[in-house]
Amino acid sequence: MTRLVDTLKTPIIVALALIFLLLIVGEMLSPGFASPTQIMRLLIVAALLGIVAAGQNLVILGGREGIDLSVGGVVSLSAIIAGNLMNGQDAGIPLAILGCVATGALIGLINGVGVTLMRIPPLVMTLGMLGVLQGLLVVIRQGIPSGRAAPGLSQFVTQPFLLGLPGIIWLWVLIGLFLAFLLSRTVYGHRIYAIGSNEQAARMAGVPVAAIRISLFALSGVFAAIAGICLIGYSGSSFANVGEQYMLPSIIAVVFGGTSLAGGKGGYTGTMAGAMMLTVLQGILTTVNIDESGRQMIFGATLLLLMLFYGRGKAMRA
């Protein structure tokens, strides 16, 4: 019985319940909001955020105040690189994936090296990297031929593929399964939690702390890059600063998923729910006809309210 109550109190269940609640509220405010196609489309948008949040999640789990503010920059950069490498041709997709993943991994690697070997706080390192990437975008956009998504990619992101759901949602599910497996059933996963929870103890137990932390940042870059590719599939063509809107929401999705910003605690399943919750909330606010000022106030206040369900810090007095 207590077990049942405990399960019900896990962040994932809370998040799913809140999503359900939000959908009902949305349907009441604007009929049609919770229709199956609309939910499917919301899932596409959530998947984009969720994939960025996957990397963010890993970095945060690894502890030592892990956080990656550069994901937005990587998403933008990747979208532009992808657009140019595929240039509207399906044949270019593999090259685009390769190029973007390599770029994302390289940027993440630099972040990781700065954070581990030079011991720069992650917030500072990735904030600095964000500034660099924004500059790089401007430079790269000079003299590039074009940036159109291949039809196959657009179809993958927006058109039903299996059981009425587009490929990107299946990709997201696969990423979810992959990370669940990685975190719970592999040595690498155990080591992520170990360094996030007690880095010194992990080192004394033979965990290659630096290598793992660097790999987490690299993975964050890779996931952001994948999101960038998907994003150009979603919007059809690349444009500047597409990724900016993912930076802080990716962190919020992770927090709403029950992962502690202190590291070592949490997982990706919750983050997926967190990403959906955020997307649904934003969707509702778009459909309600009120002033933008009102939308923002409601959005901010609702975020605060929802946060009360999650990851509150420990009380000083036990």
Binding site: G135, E292, M307, R312
Partner: protein, 330 residues
Amino acid sequence: MMVDAVATPPRRPGGIKRFIEAYPFLPALIIMLVLLALNGIWQPRSVSLVGITGLIKTYMALMLLAVAQTYVVYAGDIDLSAGAIVSLVNVVIVAVMASLGDSGVSVLAAMAIGLGAGLACGIVNGIVVAAFRLQAIVATFATSIFFTGLALWVMPVAGTPAPATFWRTYGGRILDVPFVFWAAALLAVILYLLARTRHALQLLAVGDDAQGAYQSGLPVTAIRIRGYAMCGVFAALAAFCITGDTASGDPLVGGKMTLYSIAAVVLGGTALAGGYGTVVGSVFGALIIGLINSLVYFVGTPSEWQNLVQGLAILVALVAGILIGRRARA
């Protein structure tokens, strides 16, 4: 066996190290002076009286916002809503002055209300983070959205002009000395005095070890709320400067300043983890950002490369500052 301990004397930092330990803003000061010199070499007029006045006039707001951010960082917190508070206070005072007309009284009333608004925002942040115990990064991001909405509600579109009394004073001279120099001097005095109150010490103690501070009997929650309140007040002061320099209300004016204020704090040698740092360093940090931006232009960087070079220079300065600071302490 009875424990005894005689071996391994504790590490005592030597000359320079001790100096930097005592004055953690030194690396920032040096970087700033070097940048100033480089600016002067590439564009002599940028270090003339007019040039320096312009520099201070423009970056006074960021200096103040960096100071604001420093007080929360002292306690190990962070405020991602600082820029939104600047926007909100900016539109509030402009709206108040617009409705009260162009007079000294109206300006003073607007400033009082603006300080109140900043203070209120700071207290809201403090309560949300310290009393409700939400994670500072995400909670203040949420409040920043809320404050921005509020600013848009107060002034739906940028543009209402501020009365001339206000910005002519800010841009003018008193006793033949530019107003901003007086403001900078006043700021220095205020920072010096604040550093001597117990607030700074208590915030640093909380940032060092919150549990320890609590167990020692310090009112940790109240101290953290106070840190956010100070942040709100200084953000309001930053908004005054923005208003003085721009002479208008803009509900989005401060948005981009938040991340710069954090960068300035780090550049100034303050530890983001809390417990260590100085507000003076943050002031230098803000100037470093300004000087990098103009230097990149003065050396003739092609326009499409300017953002990249600035980004790289700031990243390098951040990393260098942290490495130097650590060297000094190790």
